[in-house]
Symmetry: C2
Subunit: 83 residues, 2 copies
């Protein structure tokens, strides 16, 4: 099954990349865009099986490697394929 | 309203960052993780209003700035706040 981890800078943590994107969007004419934050998305394939165990594994991966939990938050999800 | 753009490397395009993350996960004991792909998530705030127009604006931003459409795909969504 497919798993996804979203990683974003925590509120209050400076996000220079987001600021740069926001300024570039303003320069392109998207004047009313605000609060741009740039993070990472990590998609991966896990063996079929228990969804709860898979989510727990994604959370462990996030804590141990994917996210810097001092300055970043993460959220994990399982992407359903078909119905 | 809150908008989100997800940007991922296209299928068949090499993703060295994904490969590095996959190897690191294997080294940490997550042996059965496969097909790791690392992309970007861009969250931003748009003025309240027409959701269809907002989605179209997100798509234009993606085409013009956020995504490199030669090697990346993007998907846009509006995140609902509350009910």
């Amino acid at each position: 099954m497919k798993g996804r981890v979203l990683i974003s800078p925590k509120k209050g943590i400076a996000d220079p990349q987001g600021t740069a994107v926001e300024q570039a969007l303003h320069a392109l004419g998207f004047a009313d865009v605000r609060a741009v934050r740039v993070g990472k998305v990590i998609d991966l394939e896990l063996p079929e099986g228990d969804r709860v165990a898979a989510l727990a594994a994604l959370a462990r991966m996030s804590e141990q490697l994917l996210a810097n939990t001092v300055v970043e938050t993460y959220s994990c999800s399982i992407l359903d394929e078909g119905a």
